[in-house]
């Protein structure tokens, strides 16, 4: 059975993650050989996933870490002060 484009799209995420079984992967690969649209959809999706994962996209606000650890230091010091000797 030859699979159609819609069927390929439904499995694109699993295909990228290597989470499709051997026979479905073979079907998708065969489809991709001749379908420019599905190849472009797959390539662009994979490209988007790579770009999204880059550390430069999500950066913590300036001083976030310093403020967090300063608050933790206060918490730890408070706990030490309130612990009976």
């Amino acid at each position: 059975m030859r699979i159609d484009c819609k069927h390929v799209w439904e499995h694109i995420s699993a295909y990228i993650d290597g989470d499709v079984d051997v026979s479905l992967r073979a079907e998708i690969d065969k489809h991709l050989e001749t379908c420019e649209i599905c190849s472009a959809v797959l390539d662009s999706t994979r490209n988007v996933v790579v770009l999204v994962a880059d550390d430069r996209v999500f950066e913590l606000p300036a001083g976030f870490s310093e403020r967090l650890h300063a608050r933790l230091d206060r918490e730890i010091a408070f706990e030490d002060d309130s612990t009976p000797p």
């Binding site: 995420s13 662009s44 770009l51 999204v52 994962a53 913590l60 403020r67 933790l72």
Partner: protein
Amino acid sequence: MVREVRGAMQSNPNRDVEADCIRRIQAGEKHLFHELIRPCEKPVYFLLLSILRNETDAEDAAQETAIKVYRNLHQFRGESQFRTWVLSIARNEGLARLRKTESRREDSLDAMTEDSGDFTPAILTSWREVPSEELERQEVRTLIRQAIDGLPEIYRNVMLLRDIEEMDVRETATALEISEGAVKVRLHRARALMQRSLAPKLKGFALERKKLFGWFK
């Protein structure tokens, strides 16, 4: 000593290292908690930002999460990875704040059905790769962040943990208290929505123009 633990936490974030660090903190080396929590800062903040949609609230909730983790460290049983446990505390903190302020929108979280939305990808006839170097441009980073912001929360949270934090399906399911099947479905939809919204906008940043500089091979 702190540097030793930090190095170990970053290069080998496995359960033995975490368990050893936790034991030492409980035995009195409290300062090591800073290094234990450091690798979790980023995912905690961005998960809370995804839930609360406000930077100040997300930062405050992230600090509160870290303190709760510190106070309740003895309750960590090592059944999941430490990061997964921390993220579920963060998620609960975020949800508790939403309930308190009653700002939870009808279309968010539980109210959102899995089947709503159109997940057809952007139809393209060809795609030239947009290289990671393009992320040096503020406009490209902004486009991507806006696309993620535009995702429904249930999809955004899964994408944050799976694609950005690179957690596996099981860890993600545990942290978000959903099934592994739901993680896969939501990730698929998040990626489809991202491709649909971003691919047309990113086309202009593809490799082609680099031919001029002889980079294209």
